[in-house]
Symmetry: C2
Subunit: 277 residues, 2 copies
């Protein structure tokens, strides 16, 4: 399998002028595709504020831009479910339209006021570039989810993200970058975080997009001034198919799944889950 | 619960002069206890090369030193099991002797030539300072194990370690430090890695001991020149009992254990595990 060119389009969707967001996403895709990207990633909820029922229209716009380079686009959007609930979702789109939608399993902050949590595990989507696992932002803090995606065959995990800037000691980088790197390292996969930047209603975002390789090294990002910019990286997903880490070790075969504690993962129906806020 | 003073005694056990290793460990404990440490951690296999049947004698020496300050000592040793197998183990010892032994579940490199893998999950040991989870070195690369320890109540996870120095990009720190930090961050626990330093039979070790807090920040370490030195940190384990990360989130309650993939954790007997080398 040939290598692919991945683009993470970091920018600031504008919730105050929602009508600008769909063309902004299309522009970002068009520029990335023109620069040779095969897989283009957009931030979380990048249609934010846009008339919700029109999300389909927005995604159709992504598909049209994808078609120009036969690319794949993955981005976050506000989904209106047939059940009437809103979901914080990620869509994988190609020239033929929406191929997969994932509804964020782990809601953050005040999101439960607006969104219902997803009820299905994040998917691994077969694409002509290889299997791509979907996640959204806060999901990255749950190693059960990202490890699960890797165990199900994902070679690249893509997370549209809106990461608020957090206090930290002067010498430390954002935890987001270590999270991406260590998630990639422990499961020998590529991890792409496409963050938003800027400030919205008093919340300053990290603008911390990064692309990590299976060694846990950053192939691209972070963007030094945390501005609106597109990161590019060449990924050879064959590298992520190889889980051996030396002559004697293998990140997956060395696991001891029959020894891990039951609380890690409970079959549906056996867990009393605390109600959300 | 009052805070505790944790010490990680980084030094180089000498496999060529094994008779020096037990007194070296006792000296390290004595110095740490004299400096006020309540919990003292030693590197992996720090009795390495010492006549194996005498491991009990070595651990009795730890207990004697622990008694001087009513401290707890955790360190790696080569265990001769009653089954005749050798195990790469960690012992938790206090003035009354050995309170817990953990046999490393995930063997690294050529260890399977010498050691049998553990068959029991790592324990969470109740101590008067709080619940302490045990692990050894390479275990840190398996989020299933460290998450499991935290879910079982560990507020501090302690890993005697022999971490070989690895190549990395010039701008990156050792992956060991990010692993410790992210393990601490995702489960809101303290993580103490007590590494060895120096070179043994051509292998250069990282000398990368660190103590991470539940924010994923390093409270102590790494030691700049990677030399033999003891790290100290004050830990308030109450901080690790609190899993809420803000008004709306909780690192544990936000988990979706009924949605995670089955492959994460298989009950014993249902997994065909590949044979080791």
């Amino acid at each position: 399998m040939a290598s692919l060119t991945l683009a993470c389009c970091q920018y600031a969707p504008d919730v105050e002028r929602p009508e600008l967001n769909p063309p902004r996403a299309r522009d970002a895709i068009a520029h990335a595709v023109a620069a040779g990207a095969n897989v283009v990633v957009l931030p979380e909820l990048c249609t934010s504020g846009y008339v919700l029922a029109s999300a389909e229209e927005a995604l159709a716009g992504w598909a049209r831009e994808a078609a120009r380079g036969d690319a794949i686009v993955i981005g976050g959007f506000c989904e209106l479910g047939e059940d009437g609930n809103l979901y914080n979702s990620s869509a994988l789109v190609d020239r033929d339209g929406v191929q997969a939608v994932y509804r964020k399993l782990h809601l953050w902050g005040e999101e439960p006021r607006w969104f219902a949590p997803g009820e299905e595990h994040a998917p691994v989507v077969p694409t002509r570039h290889g299997p791509i696992g979907l996640g959204v932002c806060y999901d990255l803090e749950f190693p059960e989810l990202t490890r699960g995606l890797a165990l199900e065959g994902a070679e690249l995990i893509v997370l549209p993200t809106n990461w608020p800037r957090e206090p930290r000691p002067p010498a430390s980088g954002p935890v987001l970058h270590s999270l991406a790197a260590i998630t990639a390292y422990t499961s020998r996969v590529f991890v792409a975080v496409c963050d938003r930047n800027g400030t919205e209603r008093g919340v300053e975002f990290e603008g911390g997009s990064v692309i990590a390789d299976p060694n846990g090294w950053l192939l691209a990002g972070p963007i030094a001034d945390r501005g609106a910019r597109t990161l590019f990286a060449e990924l050879d997903l064959d590298v992520a198919r190889e889980k051996r880490t030396g002559p004697h070790n293998d990140a997956f075969a060395d696991r001891r799944p029959d020894r891990y504690v039951a609380a890690l993962r409970e079959p549906a129906g056996e867990v009393a889950r605390p109600l959300g806020a």
